[in-house]
């Protein structure tokens, strides 16, 4: 039955029964020229796409180039039909849409309850201008409030609707969400794994493979921090090598647990596209299965929350940079060190060889010179020859001393001289030294004597201390007056802490105060002209200082001593 009220060609009528309603609707659909808007509840899609007649008509609408817009409530139940709808027009979703109507440029239809996939029972039709315009207006309102179908479909398909921050307690859900988020990433994935077992669990879950796919197939930047052992290192390396080969960004770095805070070691942190974070708590790291090991998880798409996790990630990431840098620096240092040691060894061997080579020619020089001066070996020599040979011998001995000194200085520098220390009676040592050097005092008639306390034992290397005394005394011998009156005294004093101070003093030409500081430096000669005459090498005092230093003592020029030179050095009782 059709009831209608007419005013000219404009009419509003109601059709009843499947035959009539179908006719009305089909006519309405075929009359649409450019635009067709439908607003319907969640039962509509199954009717529209499930009933052949309607489906074909809507397809025809699309083929004719009519712009079809549909607003409906997309649900799990009508999802597949909605997807069909999207093939013929643009679909949007609005929660809780009630009522069903369609409006084209000039016409309007509406129906009441729809039953799934059945023909309509009652349909209202109108082409009254005011009504049509009103419904168009109403439709625009719905359309603007609706959200794109993809969003809703995705939500439905991917199963989870989440608010800003949500705590998820069900491990299975957490597992699904974890996988879903990784799959849904578009630009960037950041991941922190807390333990080795976490790596294995998540590998079993397929997360690691998904990361690989994300980077290789979808060009996503993936960065991850994970603890490693040899096995994991291998896997990670081969993944990264593959990525690098293809010019993709996959960077997985070892995180050293000692550098991470306690909190970070118990959770897995995932950040997707810098917009969404998922923090998964471990309750039992010994479990092999993700679900068994997992407690609760916190999901968030709130900007401040996500940012805070990003900053945790970035600071740990920075640390790996630092760690790599330090490791690299260390490796460089080790290399440099090895090189230095090798160079040192080379230097040492060189000096050893040189001194050995220098000493060898001196053997026959010295031997023959000595023998020439004693008639029984090669016969007598005349006075002139004797003088010449004596001069040669003197210089040969100087050469010998110089070679020994150079070696000593070098070894002292390296700290390589071995001192064999023992308790030595210092009095005996001094007397011995003086006795050996006495022959050198005859030429200038020098008074060489000692003033000391008897029976003082000191822990030292006697040969080396003798070397010091000998050096100092020889220097004094050089600097006291040539023609008699020269006096050299060796003095020993003990302070109340049982440290000895030895002094070698003379009444020679003395040393200018401003020159005393550099006295014990290498090759420094007090006065190159004068010392050349006296035959110093500039090394003797350096060696003295080296030996005294090695005994824990100090050596210096006593500036209070007038009329000559006094050099003092201390020998601590114990070193």
């Amino acid at each position: 039955m059709i009831y209608s009220r007419n005013s000219g060609s404009e009419k509003t009528e109601v059709s009843h029964g499947p035959e009539n309603t179908t006719k009305t609707v089909l006519e309405f659909l075929s009359n649409a020229r450019s635009a067709l808007d439908i607003c319907a509840d969640s039962s509509w899609p199954s009717v529209a796409m499930g009933v052949d007649v309607y489906r074909n008509a809507l397809r025809d609408v699309s083929v004719r180039g009519v712009k079809l817009r549909v607003v409906t409530e997309i649900t799990k139940d009508n999802l597949s039909y909605c997807k069909e709808v999207r093939k013929v027009g643009e679909l949007r979703h609005l929660d809780g849409v009630k009522g069903n109507f369609g409006v084209s440029e000039k016409e309007y239809t509406a129906s009441a309850t729809l039953e799934e996939a059945t023909l309509l029972q009652q349909v209202i039709y109108s082409n009254v201008k005011e009504i049509v315009e009103q419904q168009q207006y109403l439709f625009e309102g719905f359309w603007n409030r609706a959200i794109p179908a993809e969003t809703k479909i995705k939500e439905l398909e991917e199963g989870i609707i989440l608010g800003d921050t949500e705590v998820i307690q069900v491990p299975l859900k957490i597992q699904e969400l974890f996988i879903q988020l990784v799959k849904s990433a578009k630009e960037e994935i950041l991941l922190i794994l807390p333990t080795i077992n976490a790596f294995y669990r998540e590998e079993r879950l397929g997360i690691i493979r998904l990361l690989k796919e994300a980077t290789l197939e979808r060009n996503i930047d993936v960065r991850a921090l994970t603890p490693i052992n040899e096995v994991i290192e291998q896997k990670v390396w081969s993944m990264m090598a593959l990525a690098v080969d293809q010019g993709k960004n996959l960077d997985i770095r070892p995180v050293h647990m000692t550098s991470a805070g306690v909190t970070v070691t118990t959770v897995t942190i995932l950040v997707i596209d810098r917009k969404v974070s998922l923090v998964i708590e471990k309750i039992d790291d010994s479990k092999e299965d993700f679900i068994d090991a997992t407690g609760s998880a916190t999901y968030s798409n709130s900007k401040p929350t996500v940012l805070s996790y990003i900053s945790i990630f970035e600071s740990l990431w920075q640390q790996t940079e630092l760690y790599e840098h330090v490791k690299e620096s260390n490796e460089k240092l080790e290399k440099a060190n090895k090189y230095l040691l090798a160079t040192e060894r080379a230097k040492e061997e060189f000096i050893s060889m040189i001194s050995h080579e220098l000493k060898t020619p001196i053997v026959p020089l010295k031997g023959y010179a000595q023998m020439l001066l004693r008639p029984k070996f090669m016969g007598a020599v005349n006075e002139k020859q004797k003088k010449a040979i004596s001069s040669m011998l003197r210089n040969i001995e100087k050469l010998q001393t110089l070679v020994d000194d150079v070696m000593d200085v070098y070894k002292l520098d390296l700290g390589k001289i071995k001192f064999s220390k023992s308790y030595t009676d210092i009095g005996n040592l001094i007397n011995q030294t003086i006795a050996e050097l006495r022959p050198l005092t005859f030429a200038k008639q020098i008074d060489l004597s000692a003033e000391m306390i008897a029976n003082v034992q000191v822990h030292c290397d006697p040969d080396r201390i003798e070397q010091v005394l000998s050096n100092l005394i020889k220097n004094s011998i050089d600097f006291v007056p040539d023609k008699g009156g020269g006096k050299i005294t060796v003095r020993v004093e003990k302070d109340n802490t049982n440290n000895l101070t030895l002094t070698v003093e003379d009444n020679g030409i003395g040393i200018k105060p401003e020159k005393t500081d550099k006295l014990f430096q290498k090759f420094y000669q007090i006065d190159t002209g004068a010392t050349r005459r006296h035959g110093g090498t500039g090394l003797g005092l350096v060696i003295c200082r080296g030996i005294v230093d090695a005994h824990g003592g100090k050596i210096w020029v006593d500036k209070t001593h007038k009329n000559g030179t006094a050099i003092k050095f201390t020998l601590p009782e114990r070193q």
Partner: protein, 120 residues
């Protein structure tokens, strides 16, 4: 008295011979390592002056061979070297059976004194 001098330096050898022969000492000179070792083993000498740094079979090698064959006690070996006396190796040799050390460059007094110690 018979002395064996094992050293590869001709000038040193001549000088030492000149010095010792005036002391009524017979000196045999060998300038090569293996020949030196043979001489030590096949003959009796009152003392052997052993240079260490020789090319090929060195004084060190000779000393080691003598040590291995346990001959150091019966042969009087005096190390004749330019190395520092406190050198580890020289010290060790003194500890394991060398009977003395002559430091190059030697003074002829030291040379005579050291050698005379072994006169029977």
């Amino acid at each position: 008295m018979k002395v064996l001098l094992i050293d590869d330096n001709k000038d040193i050898n001549e000088m030492v011979c000149l010095c010792l022969e005036t002391q009524d000492i017979t000196v045999k000179v060998v300038d090569e390592g293996r020949e030196g070792l043979r001489s030590i083993k096949e003959n009796h000498f009152d003392v052997v002056l052993l240079d260490l740094a020789m090319p090929g079979f060195s004084g060190f090698d000779i000393f080691k061979a003598l040590k291995d064959e346990d001959l150091l006690k019966s042969k009087n070996i005096v190390i004749f070297t330019a190395s520092s006396v406190t050198d580890n190796e020289v010290q060790e040799m003194l500890l394991t059976g060398a009977k003395g050390v002559l430091k190059k460059p030697i003074s002829i007094d030291d040379l005579i004194e050291t050698v005379e110690k072994f006169r029977q």
